[in-house]
């Protein structure tokens, strides 16, 4: 069993699986759109004018928010796909995978790449729609932003599966949602700038890779980033490498049956 064909077939599985789940496809696309429309329009009609432009570094609120929601969508889809390893265990499918002669690193990598592909595809569709509400967004830099998105997706799928392997039961799913997904989103700078946060919050924010991902995409799509792009990219690369390695280790450790 070749390494590459195992990666390829796992990629196929993740993508096909997502494509087959129509309601999920629609749901995960609708969620960020709802954020854009209600949260975005709600706030942008509250904070308007030159004051807002100053707060959001020359951007109107919708254009400030759109790259954040783009990254939020990548984050949620890829993280949840990573966590879905627990479904596979629940339904016995993990046994089928781990008992196979295919290298486990290949299975892990194929999965991560497949989930990342799915989340990028979805976020791209979302961004096209968001453009209608956020005039300050440029789609010309979308290919580069997708690269950043892909790197972020690698981080979060890996993170998701590392956590899934640690979870004993499915009930812990909600705990993860409350204590990992929500704080990471609020700290990411997707909804409000990081530089005006209280110091302790700002320090926490810089621990999370999501923060760098949001900053980089905002820089690319809306033209403003808090940190230099190179710093964001370096932080994301380091996080992706570390998390991929940890995730591969978790797959290797997992026992069959």
């Amino acid at each position: 069993m070749g390494f590459t064909s195992a990666v390829a077939v796992m990629w196929y599985r993740q993508v096909k699986k997502f494509y087959m789940a129509k309601p999920r496809l629609l749901g995960s696309l609708a969620q960020p759109i709802l954020w854009m429309v209600f949260f975005g329009l709600g706030w942008s009609s509250t904070i308007r004018g030159p004051m807002a432009r100053m707060l959001f570094h020359g951007l109107d609120y919708m254009s400030f928010l759109a790259p954040g929601v783009y990254m939020m969508s990548i984050f949620i889809v890829s993280f949840m796909s990573g966590v879905s390893v627990i479904f596979d265990r629940q339904f016995g499918y993990l046994k089928e995978l781990l008992a196979s002669p295919a290298p486990r690193e290949a299975i892990m990598l194929g999965r991560v790449l497949g989930d990342s592909t799915v989340s990028i595809a979805q976020a791209t569709v979302l961004l096209m729609a968001a453009k209608a509400l956020a005039p300050g967004i440029s789609l010309a830099t979308l290919p580069v932003a997708s690269l950043v998105g892909f790197l972020a997706a690698l981080c979060f799928t890996s993170l998701g599966s590392i956590i899934a392997f640690k979870m004993e039961t499915f009930e812990s799913f909600n705990i993860v949602n409350t204590f990992i997904t929500m704080p990471m989103l609020f700290l990411s700078g997707a909804f409000y700038p990081i530089d005006t946060m209280p110091a302790w919050m700002r320090h926490l924010a810089y621990v999370s890779p999501l923060t760098y991902a949001v900053d980089a995409t905002r820089g690319l799509l809306a033209g403003y980033s808090h940190l230099p792009l190179a710093v964001d990219a370096a932080a994301l690369l380091a996080a992706a490498a570390a998390l991929l390695l940890l995730s591969a280790a978790a797959y290797k450790r997992a026992t069959v049956g």
Binding site: A6, Y12, R13, G92, P101, A102, T169
Partner: protein, 325 residues
Amino acid sequence: MIKAEGLTKRFSSLTAVDHISFRVEVGEIFGLLGPNGAGKTTTVHMLATLLKPSEGEAWVAGFSVTESPGEVRKHIGIVFQEPTVDRFLSGWDNLYIHGMIYGVPRGELKERIRKALEFVELERWAGVLVKKYSGGMLRRLELARALLYEPEVLFLDEPTLGLDPQSRAKMWEYIKELRRSQGTTILVTTHYMEEADRLCDRVAIIDRGRIVAEGSPEELKRKLGSEVIYLRSRKASELIDELREAGLSARMLSPELIALAVSSATEAMPKLFTVLGNLIKHVEEISYHRPSLEDVFLHYTGRKLRDSEADAADFIRMVARVRRW
């Protein structure tokens, strides 16, 4: 095709499989019959190289399971007791992904999938999500999956567990057809006597990790006589002395249960009354019938195959399964 010698598996303090030895010939359908927790699944996992034996050795398709597990894996197919399919993919995709990660030659894969699906009559369902399949269809899909690499030896762990009688009969048909057309050697585990009786050429009765009897279902039943009479009594130990003195082949199965192997129950019954004389008033229950594999099991273990113990185990397993949610 399969040879086990002194195969043993210990899980810390528990000996799940205790020095079992048996042989399965080429093209045979061999059954491991026993209650839940008897060690059937553990045995299969050891033969399929998913578990390392604590002691003993086994050969499958000519290869040692301890020395060349990789070679063994290339020659076997396995259907696990609990479903291991991906419910959110179609049946075809399940087979395709399985074929790919288990190394079925790429050029042949699509043709083999077609043949396997045709064999289990699921062609029309190939594109449908597996979560919409019935229990019987799910098992058939898993059988098809195990057939993808055209195994010489097929392990089926409780292939009809939880299926309705109709689906069960259908599964038996497929298994028999497979042996007929491909000459596949098949090892089935089951706790359904009827299944072992109808399906298997030979069975090994396994209880608490040991093989207590082995032979064709016919042989095993014949050993018990052509009919068996059961006597239930609280004074069974007194009764049995009388019966033995009179030259009847009586056996104590449990402190309150005696079995008599006879050639004809209707003829033996009057003699029984004469022999027991006054003691007959201590007999609470008399029954007789042609021996089934259930009687064989009772004969060798003193317990019924599906007694309360097995039911309790079933229940605990079910609870465990539910709680994992």
